[in-house]
């Protein structure tokens, strides 16, 4: 009798443990919307070229160059991956912040100062063996990025200052701070009057991976860093206890507080982790590609990373894919500029348009109604 009851309970428990299958709706938001978004953005980009007096043949040529320059050859793929590394790293940090309910626009500043710290760790600790030197330089970048981001986190936690404004201001401050630092005698390259730092010694550089094939291939070991970061952020968000608290406070800060989570600590921890990833992005850029710091060496990666995180729907794997796409656009855009004479700034327009469509799926549905299952009444009873 009681065994029978237990059996029944077990079956009931098992039934509850069945996963609900992913529905058509998930497929639409995860696959169809991004694809349409990219297509629509490329189309509108073509219209903009047309409007600026670029003839049709050149437009075709430029999109071909875009494809060639991103995936058309080994050097192209190497460039795409190289461009994707900092985008993915910083994008992961931003995604983490979004999950925790923090709209961190400050990746650019965190990236700049993190990169600067990595450069300084590079030339100031010259003489160490690379096995110590390189990790130290990377660590310096991550640490400074984390500290800089924590300022905004601390402000939000203690005073409620909105992180959007404070991180924008911290970005603007970081530009000036970098200019100032690059003119200091112990940082500025000897014999130069313009703001430029000393170079990073080989022992702190991220080794190039493909230079045995062709010395011009720039792909560097940062790509492993990137993959490790994807795995780490995935684990952090979906497996770890602190990540659960991040997500809970992001989705519903009140409920998180009521459940005994310490919102202030979570905000600071999430910002610091995001800043560390942005700092790493800056470090990998200077240690793997640029070799030194100059004003604005980040070239807007911190802002593009916002788009990457949004497009990746704040999911680590999504961020990886979005970062690769944006890296491809970046690399292909350079080819486009060379081959077709179309300014690379067009890529920023396309990127912005992609995000418009991704962030407003209703808009995509309005433009491409046939891609979606028709629902007679779009408003569900719940939610």
């Amino acid at each position: 009798m009681s065994e029978n009851l237990n059996d029944k309970l077990d079956t009931a428990t098992q039934a509850l443990l069945q996963r609900t299958t992913r529905g058509r709706q998930d497929f639409e938001t995860l696959v169809i919307v991004p694809i349409f978004a990219v297509i629509a953005a490329l189309f509108l980009g073509g219209l903009i070229m047309l409007a600026t007096n670029v003839d049709l043949a050149t437009i075709g040529e430029s999109y071909l160059a875009l494809a060639r320059g991103s995936v058309g050859s080994l050097p192209a793929i190497s460039e795409t991956l190289t461009a994707a590394i900092p985008l993915v790293l910083a994008g992961l940090g931003l995604a983490l912040g979004f999950r925790a309910g923090l709209f961190n626009i400050g990746a650019e500043g965190q990236l700049l100062l993190g990169g600067m710290a990595a450069v300084m760790a590079g030339f100031m600790l010259e003489g160490l063996p690379w096995i110590i030197h390189l990790p130290l330089a990377l660590l310096a970048g991550a640490l400074v990025g984390a500290l800089y981001a924590s300022i905004a986190g601390w402000l939000k936690a203690s005073t409620g200052a909105h992180e959007v404004i404070s991180t924008i201001m911290l970005n603007l401050i970081s530009f000036r701070l970098l200019d100032y630092l690059l003119r200091q005698p112990f940082i500025q390259k000897e014999g130069r009057a313009d703001p430029i730092s000393k170079s990073v010694p080989d022992s702190a550089e991220l080794p190039r991976l493909l230079d045995w094939l062709d010395p011009n291939l720039r792909l560097h070991a940062g790509v492993f860093l990137m993959l490790a970061a994807v795995a780490f952020v995935y684990w952090l968000l979906f497996r770890s206890k602190i990540g659960f608290a991040f997500r809970a406070s992001g989705e519903n800060p009140h409920a998180a507080r009521y459940a005994g989570m310490r919102s202030g600590l979570i905000i600071i921890a999430a910002m610091a982790t995001a800043g560390a990833l942005a700092g790493l992005a800056g470090a990998s850029q200077v240690l793997g590609v640029l070799d030194r710091a100059t004003p604005g060496f980040s070239a807007g990666i911190g802002f593009d990373a916002i788009a990457v995180a949004l497009m990746g729907r704040s999911h680590p794997l999504g961020v990886l894919l979005a970062g690769l796409l944006f890296g491809a656009l970046e690399a292909g855009g350079r080819q486009m500029q060379v081959d077709a004479g179309v300014s690379i700034d067009l890529i920023s327009i396309i990127q912005a348009l992609i995000i418009v469509f991704i962030a407003a799926p209703l808009l995509v549905k309005a433009i491409f109604p046939w891609g979606f299952r028709q629902r007679k009444n779009a408003k569900g009873g719940s939610k």
Binding site: I48, T52, I165, M169, L172, F303, L310, S348, A352, L363
Partner: protein, 421 residues
């Protein structure tokens, strides 16, 4: 709703206000030490402030301040304010003391920096007004949007779009044509923002960020793709300053308020108009109701969506006008990203100004003052690196947003989309 604490009880309890007053007191005492021991000890000679040019009809004599004594007095005043706050602060005196204290600090700083030299105070005030214009207009655009509960991070992009359009169309059709086009394009981006957040329910911050990225990309693209080749497209006439007769001749106030270009007058008029509109008209009342409680407005037959579209578009037009200042009101030529974060500072001015047009203007003047101060100080060769002075408006913005100087309530529904069932 609840009874006020009686005297004996409030003594035992650490109230928020008393704590704030103590912090303010401590800050003021620290500032007084700074003024006494850094500015005071280091000041020698007289600081000369020029108030008028010799050619002015009613010229005022120069203001000559003995630097050392002035700063000792200023330091003592600050110390007095600080000790007073610390010991028996609270109530309405806290904010006032802090304001007065900061004003004294700025004066002491100016006197210290000018000690033994001379510089034109009137010129700096005039520059303050000019530099405040884009910030004030950005802030006003923010007020119009946030009063109907739409957060507008895209002001930066709208300013940039206005600057770009002003330069392009101004080069083709002349200054007025450029101005009108800038306003229209600004309004168009306002409309796009409204469409994205109201109709397509996109997150307001994301929509704003995206518009900023888009405008930055588009203007940079056109300026490198087109302007580099066709230079005549980026060479617009500039609106010159127009002196208002008589008023423009007044000392100090004249050059500051009545010897300016179209944009300064426009900003002042727009601030006055929108104050009347928001707080004294029927449409203003309805707009504010939409920002505070959209559902209530909806039940009373006020169209929430239309109100939001209208005001965000108007905000965009104001920002477009402000953007034209960068080209038509100053250099006549567009450069990539030439707004340099002014839109964001405008947003801070809006918060500082408590979502009120006049408040936003006042805050913009403070930022404009900091901006022009930084320019002037570079000429005075102070030991402070100019990079750090250039950061000061940004740091001030953070301080404002963090609410260290009084906190105000934004419209209750701010940032929340309204979904009509």
């Amino acid at each position: 709703m609840t009874a006020a604490p009686t005297q004996t009880q409030s003594e035992t309890m650490d109230t928020g206000k008393a704590r704030q007053a103590r912090i303010t007191g401590a800050v003021l005492i620290a500032l007084s030490i700074l003024v006494l021991f850094v500015f005071g000890m280091d000041s020698s000679g007289d600081a000369t402030f020029r108030l008028s040019r010799p050619t002015d009809p009613w010229a005022l004599p120069n203001l000559v301040v003995p630097a050392g004594p002035f700063n000792y007095v200023a330091g003592a005043l600050l110390a007095f304010l600080g000790v007073r706050q610390f010991l028996q602060g609270g109530g309405r005196w806290t904010a006032l003391s802090l304001g007065v204290g900061l004003a004294i600090l700025v004066m002491a700083f100016l006197v210290w920096a000018t000690a033994g030299k001379a510089f034109s105070l009137t010129g700096m005030l005039q520059a303050t007004m000019v530099r405040a214009v884009p910030i004030a207009l950005g802030g006003l655009a923010g007020v119009l949007c946030e009063r109907v509960a739409v957060v507008n991070i895209a002001i930066e992009g709208m300013l940039l779009a206005g600057a770009f359009t002003g330069a392009l169309i101004g080069s083709l059709l002349g200054g007025w044509g450029g101005l009108v086009a800038a306003v229209i394009v600004g309004g168009a981006f306002g409309f796009i923002l409204a469409a994205l957040v109201v109709t397509y329910r996109m997150d307001q911050i994301i929509a704003g960020v995206v518009i900023n990225l888009f405008v930055l990309g588009l203007t940079s693209y056109v300026s490198s793709q087109v302007f580099s080749e066709y230079r005549f497209l980026n060479n617009a006439p500039v609106f010159r300053a127009y002196k208002i007769p008589l008023l423009g001749d007044l000392p100090v106030i004249g050059p500051m308020l009545f010897k300016q270009n179209l944009f300064v007058y426009g900003a002042l008029i727009l601030v006055a108009l929108s104050t009347y509109y928001l707080f004294f008209t029927r449409s203003g009342l309805r707009a504010r109701a939409v920002g505070e409680h959209p559902h209530a407005a909806d039940t009373l037959g006020i169209n929430v969506y239309r109100t939001r579209y209208l005001h965000v578009t108007l905000g965009g037009m104001v920002a477009g006008f402000g953007g034209a200042w960068f080209t038509l009101g100053s250099v006549g030529r567009f450069d990539e990203n030439m707004t340099g974060g002014r839109g964001f500072i405008g947003l801070a001015a809006m918060i500082f100004g408590r979502w009120h047009p006049v408040g936003a203007l006042a805050a913009a003047l403070v930022f404009g003052f900091a901006d022009s101060l930084q320019q002037k100080l570079a000429l005075l060769r102070t030991p402070i690196p100019s990079d750090f002075l250039a950061m000061s408006p940004y740091i001030a913005t953070i301080i404002v947003v963090a609410g260290f100087i009084g906190k105000a309530q934004p419209p209750a529904a701010n940032g929340k989309p309204y979904v009509k069932e």
